[in-house]
């Protein structure tokens, strides 16, 4: 599994993905790790099929005892079906997820990890030195859904927003936004159900200073492409299956 260090100034951001041994028919995913001293958090740690590769990848950069927190943007299996495995290898960790999904994600197995429910309005957590914000993104697409913003690194982990379905071996960053649009269009039109929810999210994230936006699938957005994406998404009709 490829790992890319996105940020390294005191604390670090890593993104993991493009697992060459991933079974062919499962969707490719990006997993993120933020390392802050002796505390680290995994954002959307991934499905059970990528657990082994993800476990090996993170241990190149941290000790297992320093992985203290997990975050699940929502309840989908590509995000958190590995929970039963992490539960056994990180028995003292905490899982941050929308309060809505506690009873559901427990189906993946959670006897040791402590569930930390995120209220609908969002919240903040402190790792060792830095603070992270859980930004509401409800109904985009899940009804209990959060993104993670790091004001110091100016990074936004945006879950399914910004996702694109790409073939294996695609580059990590968007390098031609106009060409990238076609890879995102259907995903956003079909998966995102609510224009009202979309506009609320846009209002919220336009107030944030974002250098890099990391979706859970497909390429990352940096610099001007972040605002290009937001404007593109603002104008996109969504919820097409209900028409």
């Amino acid at each position: 599994m490829d790992a890319l260090k996105l940020y390294d100034e005191g604390h670090k951001w890593f993104v993991f993905g493009r697992d060459p041994e991933k079974p062919e028919k499962i969707i490719d995913t990006n997993q993120v790790m933020i390392v802050d001293g002796k505390r680290s958090i995994l954002l959307d740690p991934g499905g059970i099929e990528v657990f082994s590769a993800m476990l090996a990848s993170i241990l190149k950069y941290v000790e297992i005892d320093h992985v203290t927190d997990l975050f699940a943007s929502h309840q989908d299996p590509d995000i958190i079906s590995s929970l039963g495995m992490w539960d056994q290898v990180l028995p003292n960790a905490r899982l941050h997820c929308s309060w809505l999904w506690e009873g559901f994600v427990r189906h993946f197995g959670m006897n040791n990890i402590q569930f930390e429910p995120i209220p609908d309005e969002g919240s903040r957590i402190r790792l060792e030195n830095i603070e992270l914000e859980f930004i509401p993104a409800h109904y985009l697409h899940s009804s209990g859904n959060f993104h993670v913003y790091d004001p110091k690194a100016k990074m936004l982990f945006s879950g399914d927003i910004g996702a694109a379905l790409e073939p294996p071996g695609a580059p990590m960053f968007v390098d031609n936004f106009d060409a990238h649009v076609d890879k995102m269009r259907y995903f956003h039109e079909r998966w995102m159900p609510s224009d009202k929810a979309k506009q609320q999210w846009i209002q919220r994230v336009r107030k944030l200073d974002i250098d890099v936006m990391i979706p859970q699938h497909g390429r990352l957005f940096k610099g001007d492409d972040v605002q290009r994406f937001i404007s593109w998404f603002e104008a996109l009709p969504v919820g097409i299956a209900s028409n």
Binding site: I48, F51, S52, A53, L55, A56, S57, L59, K60, E63, I64, D65, G84, M85, Q88, V89, P91, G109
Partner: protein, 227 residues
């Protein structure tokens, strides 16, 4: 086909090339326990029908009066047997459900061990240091110990299940014998004979149904290779 994951076997079966077969065996185990549970459920429904038939035969025996004096004890016996069968079926079903749940926990534990070991293989290929790889050993050891505990628990659950299935099988064999006696006694009841013989045949038929479910359940236990 299928090998019982006994406590002793478990220690040698986790790891290396046997991991995949261990998962398959546990899947068979789970399926067998669920099959037993299904059959015991149907056995308990049949036992309820037997209880009803026994009550009907008791009513008929009362109507037959002194001609059927010898049958009263037998019809009481059937009624009592049906109640015991219903109760025992429920108990056995709980064992089968517990075995099935135990199997799922075993599967999760083995899956965890396999996937962590795979992670360690990736680290070795990536030339990680021994210290990095060894960080994962404590959780594998904990999981292995838990797996052993589950296997020990399975031993005990299977023994209970086997014993109770044998109990219920004995009840049914007794029921067959008593049904024969019922038929013989019925020949002394004059005009009530055809009805009472029919009832005896009904109870015998229901007994054989239950025996069929118990036999199938006992055969499922053979998949586990219990001694």
């Amino acid at each position: 086909m299928g090998v019982f994951m006994s406590a002793a076997a478990t220690k040698h079966r986790i790891g290396g090339q046997e991991d995949h077969s261990a998962s398959s065996q546990i899947a068979l185990q789970t399926a067998a326990a669920a099959t037993i549970s299904g059959h015991l459920f149907r056995a308990s429904i049949t036992a309820r029908q037997m209880a009803l038939a026994a009550k009907n035969s008791r009513a008929m025996v009362l109507r037959a009066g002194s001609k059927a004096a010898g049958l009263k004890v037998i019809s009481d016996y059937f009624d009592d047997l049906a109640d015991k069968t219903i109760s025992l079926s429920s108990t056995i079903n709980q064992y089968a459900v517990a075995i099935s749940q135990n199997s799922v926990r075993q599967w999760r534990t083995i899956t965890f061990i396999n996937r962590v070991r795979k992670g360690q293989d990736y680290l070795k290929k990536g030339q990680a240091t021994e210290a990095v790889i060894a960080q994962l050993d404590p959780s594998v050891e904990t999981a292995s110990a838990h797996h052993q505990e589950l296997a020990n628990r399975l031993d005990s659950q299977l023994k209970n299940l086997k014993d109770q299935l044998e109990n219920i099988h004995h009840y049914m064999q007794s029921s067959n014998v008593v049904a024969v006696t019922f038929r013989l006694e019925a020949t002394q009841t004059g005009e009530f004979q055809p009805l009472l013989e029919h009832m005896a045949a009904t109870i015998d038929g229901l007994t054989n149904d239950i025996k069929g479910h118990i036999n199938t359940s006992q055969n499922q236990l053979n998949v586990f290779n219990i001694n």
